[in-house]
Amino acid sequence: MTATRGGASPAGPKGQPAQRPGALGFLTDTTLCIGCKACEVACKQWNGLPMDNIGWTGNSYDNTGDLGATTWRHVTFVERIADQAGRRPATLQPFQSNWLMMSDICKHCAHAGCMEACPTGAIVRTEFESVVIQQDVCNGCGYCLPACPFGVPEISDTDGKAHKCTLCYDRLTDGLEPACAKACPTDSIQFGRIDDLGERATERVASLRERGVEGAHVYGDQDVGGSGGIGGLNAFFVLTAPPEVYNLPRRPELPQRKSVRGYLATAGAAVIFGAAAFFSLRER
């Protein structure tokens, strides 16, 4: 595919590049995150995103603030160092603790509020089950913004269109893993088949709990994070503190579902969503 000099290869063993279609996504294991922000930079580099220029926030080491039109990976920093008496602990629970760092990203929801709200058809679900805003279709109406329970898409000041993570769609089509996952030095960001990642997340949580990390849990299944009609996330997380600590909603809901609730009987909605689910399986 590419000319290679000096023994380089564009794709290799890490992260199982997407050679076959199917649901692909991320497992972001915060217990392995060192808050280095390589993911933020690798994402910007690959996707040609400019700096945000927010300035110094004084909010721990977070100076990019939030996911947005030009920040598609964002590392959240939460300092929970001292106990209530102000005592700093010396012996810590295994892996990341007390200074929590989480690399946030578009969740590529199984049922994506943004996509469902988009009136122009700009937002599509790809053959990898990722959710992509097609820039040549988007008219910048902004309907997708409130429709996302996680506040992911944002309208760019530059081109007036909505932007967010594409799961590196252009890389996936060529069998390359997404830039953030590739760069991550500690494998906090793992890329692969959702099924595999889901198993890995479950095992990881079990292993963490065995080692004394009692708060370890998966964020992004249908109970926590992928709830409320979302049907689970294709980018999910292993967390060690309640989701709210990371500024993540515990039980997000599709806004569409909230409105549905008022008008229709649950059974009726179930028919609709059942149908939606049927169609969403179209690629399998």
Binding site: A38, R125, L176
Partner: protein
């Protein structure tokens, strides 16, 4: 399209009727197609991450970690991941700047002029400050009039040439780098 209509009413039309895939989406491919790949080493810290620099038409289009490295295995830190940004830095200096003594502004000069001027200054300073012997008439062949700083971010071969030219060739002894910084 009955369902579609209902879906639209409820805001769930997508999923029942897939949105059309645009031409741009259909044609989306990695820009690494057709690129040349060159193996480099990250210029920042001393971990020694191997990088692959992708180029097209003599321009850098991407820098990533090299999967084959036993050290970084394809990964990079934020600085390493910004290497393409360093190389293409909008603020990068690409022309020679010259500030005359007591001046309050930069001037543009040619590289050739600067090289000639620097060589001349080195010779003048060296000739004035050169010590062939010290006060005890021990042969020393040195000058304290010129110093050098830097090396830890250069190449080994360049460090070799610095020491060889400056110390062995010109007698400059105050040659130092960041190892003590």
């Amino acid at each position: 399209m009955g369902l579609g209509k209902l879906g639209k009413l409820l805001g769930t039309h997508v999923g029942m009727v897939p949105n059309p895939v645009s031409q741009r989406t259909r044609e989306a491919r990695s820009r690494l197609r057709g690129a040349s790949a060159t193996v480099s080493v990250c210029p920042y810290c001393a971990v020694g991450c191997s990088q692959v620099v992708y180029t097209k038409d003599e321009r850098v289009i991407d820098v990533e970690g090299n999967y084959e490295s036993p050290i970084n295995g394809g990964t990079l830190c934020p600085k390493g991941a910004a290497t393409a940004g360093l190389m293409g830095s909008p603020l990068r200096v690409t022309t020679v700047k010259y500030r005359a003594p007591h001046s309050d502004h930069w001037e543009d000069r040619t590289l050739d002029w600067a090289m000639g001027r620097i060589a001349q200054l080195v010779k003048e300073t060296r000739d004035v400050t050169y010590e062939a012997r010290n006060q005890q008439s021990v042969p020393v062949n040195r000058t304290l009039g010129i110093g050098h700083l830097g090396g830890a971010t250069l190449d080994n071969e360049e460090n070799y040439l610095i020491k060889k030219l400056f110390s062995a060739g010109l007698g400059i002894v105050a040659v130092e780098n960041q190892a003590r910084i």
